[in-house]
Symmetry: C2
Subunit: 312 residues, 2 copies
């Protein structure tokens, strides 16, 4: 999965909500979800559960399953669209309350097994819907499809992504080495301080790379760290309401000290500001047809140094 | 050549200098250069000449030929590496004083017929050399190979690229329409004011797009305008010494009013600053092994607005 230039950390994401009255998705059991994950060419490494949610740590990212919905995130060269196609063999269009399929722009799009355009064709065979480009084509951006139909999202139905590029400081020495220890990683992340109530499940990959899932009641967090030497990428995603956790992103940024980062907000009020340290360098403020307000911001360090060219 | 998301404006570039004492490259004649251009899957549209240089306007960008060197720039899905391979059937490694092969990161790398990595393998079969990544992998960047061997570049052996993204203002209405007129384009560019001494040759493409070559003595200029609606891209390149033309980039920026731009300098002293309008948002300052100081800067507008998501 690692080409000579590095591992593809950029994620694809699928979020499905069923209409009320369906039997529980959690009750489909491990074999069903194994199949869904394998359709993407990923596999389940481990699982944690609470009364609301099953959280699966995958060989390439994460899957969270609630009774009435699931969120699946995959990276590398996975084909997430195929998981949806398989899921649709068990459900009809009328069963879906919401479907959102999203792809972040890739580092190595020429090494992907499918393009967003080919994924979109499969989506449009299954659902009428709308397609968006969020962010500009020459910069960081997301391509997003959602099925037709307007939702009235609940006040606490929000998702936020924090996508960080080029970590610096202590995180480099902790993550960017073979044989990192889970203790040093957990200590650096200050999991106990940041997420005291969350049950967590984490994994270090060979030769490097780190994933973490956490759940508390119906809330989730997930970290994926791709510590490639010259193009490190760290994603954090949660459905915590940031209004109630206003310091969370700032604290995570202090851990990874990225040179730049993106924020994607579904149904959060505003893009935060980051004072003297980072400035907004571009973004999007819109409302999807399905009803989610969406905000995308690309932030860069205020103080920058011209770097050296990279010898390949 | 135009996929549903737009034309690939990003360029590949090949610069070859022969050792002194060779018979003139210009004397190889039209048939030879036709073959070189066709090897990239491009074709020659028109030609201008002066006592130093032949300038060929191509179906995808430009070729400039002097007695002892040539610069070839191609965009779209061309395979510039194949032009070099063909050229090398007529010349030995000892004939080369300098070889630089460069690829800008592409909008649609998955639609390219070759990758920089596969190009590099062909290059390394022909020449020992050095490979660089200039700019960061998640942002605008250039991949560059040059052959082994140190040059002592002459003081006037400099090249500058100005790569502009998302034009605004009058340029939009002039370029981004079918049936644009050469008169309106030339007026907008103020060719007579900016380049009074240059002989020029320009072409409007269907349904849109514009290329211009200009030569004066041994100096060249070249513009390539890809006015795609949501990802317009304009490149300008010259071997004029910008120290002696300090206002040139500022004036071109006034024409296209891009939301952001990159500058690549080979052997120019410093990256310019652009006062209140644009700020440097990242870059590179280094010296290639072959002896060229190289500077790369990514500039963004100081005043920015959050845009709408693009409906695809």
């Amino acid at each position: 999965m690692v080409n000579s230039m590095g591992f593809e950390g950029s994620e694809k994401k699928l979020e499905v909500m069923l209409v009320p009255g369906h039997s529980s998705l959690r009750k489909r059991g491990r074999e069903f979800w194994n199949g869904i994950v394998e359709a993407s060419e990923a596999s389940i490494l481990s699982t944690i559960s609470n009364q609301h949610c099953d959280a699966f740590l995958l060989s390439e990212s994460s899957l969270f399953v609630w009774d009435d919905r699931f969120v699946m995130i995959t990276c590398g060269q996975t084909q997430l669209i195929n998981s949806l196609v398989l899921f649709c063999e068990s459900y009809n269009r009328e069963d879906f309350k919401s479907l959102i399929f999203q792809r972040k722009n890739e580092y190595f799009s020429h090494l992907q097994k499918s393009t967003f355009e080919s994924d979109r064709k499969k989506l449009e065979l299954l659902f009428p819907g709308h397609t968006y480009q969020i962010g500009q084509l020459d910069g960081h951006h997301n391509l997003l499809f959602h099925m037709e139909g307007e939702l009235c999202p609940d006040a606490d139905d929000c998702t936020s992504e924090l996508l960080m590029y080029h970590m610096e400081g202590e995180a480099v020495s902790v993550f960017r080495r073979e044989g990192a220890s889970l203790e040093s990683v957990r200590g650096l992340l200050d999991l106990a301080g940041l997420f005291p109530e969350f049950k967590t499940d984490d994994h270090l990959f060979e030769p490097w790379g780190y994933s973490l899932n956490g759940i508390f009641e119906d809330r989730y967090i997930t970290f994926h760290v791709t510590p490639e030497q010259h193009s490190s990428y760290i994603s954090f995603e949660t459905n915590l309401k940031l209004e109630e956790h206003s310091e969370l992103f700032t604290k995570i940024l202090e851990v990874f000290q990225p040179q730049s980062f993106d924020i994607v907000h579904f149904h959060e009020r505003e893009l935060p500001s980051f004072g003297e340290r980072y400035q907004l360098a571009g973004g999007t403020n819109d409302r999807l047809e399905c009803g989610y307000p969406i905000k995308f911001g690309h932030f860069i360090k205020r103080q920058l140094n011209l770097g050296k060219a990279l010898r390949l």
